[in-house]
Amino acid sequence: MSNDTHILPETRSWRDIPQQVRPRAMSGEGRRRMAMGGVRVAIGAAVIAGVAWGAWGITAVLRDNPSAMPEAAKTDRVRSLVLVTDGVLDKVWLAKTLSIPPDSTLMGLDLNQLRLKVLSDSQVASAAIARNFPDALTVRISERSPVARMMAQADGAAPKMLLVSRDGVAFAGTGFDPAMVETLPWIDGIKITRVGTSLAPIEGMKAVSDLLASAKLEAENLYRTWQVISLARLSADGEIEIHTRDGMKIIFGTKEDYLRQIARLDLLVDASSDPTRPLREVNLALGAQVPVSYGKAAPMLDGQPASALNASSTRPQIVFPSISKPQIGIHL
């Protein structure tokens, strides 16, 4: 038998006795010592935190202080721009946005000013700029992603398509794939105001985004037919109105779970497959009771519905009002 395989009985030592006692069982002096011990630990932690904070502060000051830099570093020009992003913006956009003069030195740049320039594009949600010695400027950005689009027209200018993010911010949408943009539904029935040089976030976009995300995920066949989303009754009645490409109007309520409403809609669309009685309006905002109205079938041309042959004829007419301060009324 090997000597390494001994199973020894466990003997309990006095060290197994827990040494903790309740404060009640301590004397006044013992409690005072315990409190003083706690205070000492707290003071120690505070001192360490203070020293660390001070060291970090000094490091930051030295890093940003041009006078503390060696001369060689001060005279180095910016030779490369590095863009780190989670979206679609590229270096061309960055160079154009920053517009750094060619003879600029790395230490001569005002990073705060450059950051504000980057953030002036509403597509950028957050930005951080850092010098990477000897000659690179690194820009880290987080981009907004679009959930819908809208058309806007400033005074006297041509109508312009803007993309709308989940947080309601409208932005130009540089660098996005046009095919992807084409799949986004239009926003209607909103009132936006101008704040400075940009537009104020659109209210209620979170509810719309949730609905669109649920539809895209759970019933993409339905989502693909959605063309216009009206927010006109959102704040007053809590309803989101959707117009599909084939002229159907769907009303969603914001109080009930979207998944449930989408499931009901899917059921209805499947059940109403009769081409002679197409669905015209479905109101899902009333809970389990879903009022549905049917319309007349489009005239048949060579065995196909007219709408299928000429889809553009079913699209709503889009009118773009002019933008005027302080409010911009946008109608689709």
Partner: protein, 404 residues
């Protein structure tokens, strides 16, 4: 102040008094910088029976010692005594594993684990595992047998165990002052180490520490503790005997014991009288000196006989060339060494603290606390030595080059 300086606290919660010593250890020497003493309350025969009273007096002694030292301690070494402590011997042997019969560290570890592994009754906990010297093929090895050659490795442990609740009570009294108990040290080992020399321990010596409530003893052989024990009889019983025998209060009996008590009967005259107070106050009485001496000597003889009986075959005058060393407050009883010599049949003497000990703590009542302090120093220096041994890679490389 050197960064190596550490403060060591030694606490003895005795039946008659609580003693606290604080030592400043510089890595080379220890200086006693604080001493606190307080009459004990709530402690009977070394066990806490009234938590609040014991806490109050212990904490007072700790406060006095800290004030005296002008330093704050965070942990202490605590003396442990009491009638509940018991010991047993267990040994194990092992066939050396290596083909060349060279003993390795693993063999030593295994045989030690085997010798220490013994199930204890419910509610009992190990206080100390005292190792006796190794034996390699029957040959005594006082130090480590590593790298020696032999077929059979043997070792034995004297295991001291105590009742869990009583050990916990002692620890909690200290913990109530927000102090950690770093080690529990047997009172007998502490005081025995203090009053015996290395040579005496090598030749065999019996150290007896007579406290107020208990008597602790340790028998050394071959330089290591061989047997320890506690008898739940102490100086308090001498007082009690006088109190009953002469019909006195405990205070009066204590006074007579201290003034006229002896461990042998010296007075031959039955009519020799001594005064209780001797100040002509009302109620002052006379007692026979011989009666007092008879009572205390009978108790002293009996106490030492009990110790001898408990030691059994472990003790013999031949194997105890160092004789008997007496310490503790009870050892101050005159002629106790003579009595011990008669009982054990060997030479006996009163223990004295080493010369480096301050005058104010040289009293036998401090020997246990001094021993604990000494034990604390040993533990600290052992730890420092093991830390040095471990070292770092560069340190080891440097040592390698230094040795070549």
């Amino acid at each position: 102040m050197s960064s190596k300086t550490s403060f060591i606290g030694a606490v003895e919660i005795g039946t008659s008094k609580v003693t606290v010593l604080i030592g400043e250890y510089t890595g080379r020497e220890i200086v006693i910088i604080g001493c606190g003493e307080c009459p004990s309350r709530g402690v009977i025969k070394g066990s806490v029976v009234d938590y609040r009273a014991a806490t109050e007096c212990t904490h007072s002694a700790l406060e006095i010692a800290e004030r005296d030292a002008n330093e704050r301690i965070d942990c202490v070494y605590l003396a442990q005594t009491g009638g509940h402590l018991e010991g047993f011997y267990n040994e194990a042997s092992l066939n050396v594993k290596a083909a060349d019969n060279m003993i390795e560290l693993g063999d030593i570890r295994t045989v030690c684990d085997l010798a220490k592994a013994k199930e204890l009754p419910l509610g009992r906990m190990v206080v100390h595992n005292i190792r006796r010297p190794f034996r390699v093929d029957g040959r005594l090895v006082p130090t480590s047998p590593e790298n020696l050659v032999g077929q059979k490795l043997e070792v034995g442990y004297w295991t001291v165990h105590g009742q869990e609740q009583r050990l916990a009570d002692n620890i909690h009294v200290i913990r109530g002052f927000n102090l950690e108990v770093r080690e529990l040290v047997l009172s007998s080992l502490a005081s025995g180490h203090m009053v015996t020399s290395l040579e005496e321990r090598q030749n065999g010596v019996l150290a007896i520490d007579i406290g107020a409530g208990t008597t602790d003893y340790v028998l050394y052989r071959n330089g290591a503790p061989h047997t320890t024990g506690v008898v739940a009889v102490g100086g308090g019983h001498f007082t009690n005997d006088i109190s009953i025998g002469l019909r006195l209060t405990e205070g009066q009996a204590e006074k007579l014991k201290l003034r006229f008590g002896r461990a042998t009967v010296q007075s031959r005259d039955k009519n020799e009288k001594v005064w209780l107070d001797g100040n002509f106050s009302i109620g002052d009485r006379q007692f026979s000196r011989q009666a007092i001496e008879s009572i205390t000597s009978a108790r002293a003889w009996e106490l030492l006989e009990v110790v001898k009986k408990k030691l059994g075959h472990s003790f013999s005058p031949e194997s105890c060339a160092g004789g008997v060393v007496l310490t503790g407050g009870g050892a101050k009883l005159p002629a106790l060494a003579e009595c011990a010599s008669n009982v054990f049949g060997t030479c006996a003497r009163l223990g004295e603290a080493p010369s480096w000990v301050n005058e104010n703590v040289r009293d036998p009542g401090f020997h246990t606390a001094l021993g604990i302090l000494y034990y604390g120093v040993s533990v600290q220096s052992d730890r420092a030595a093991s830390a040095r041994r471990k070292g770092g890679f560069l340190h080891n490389v440097a040592r390698l080059f230094a040795s070549t």
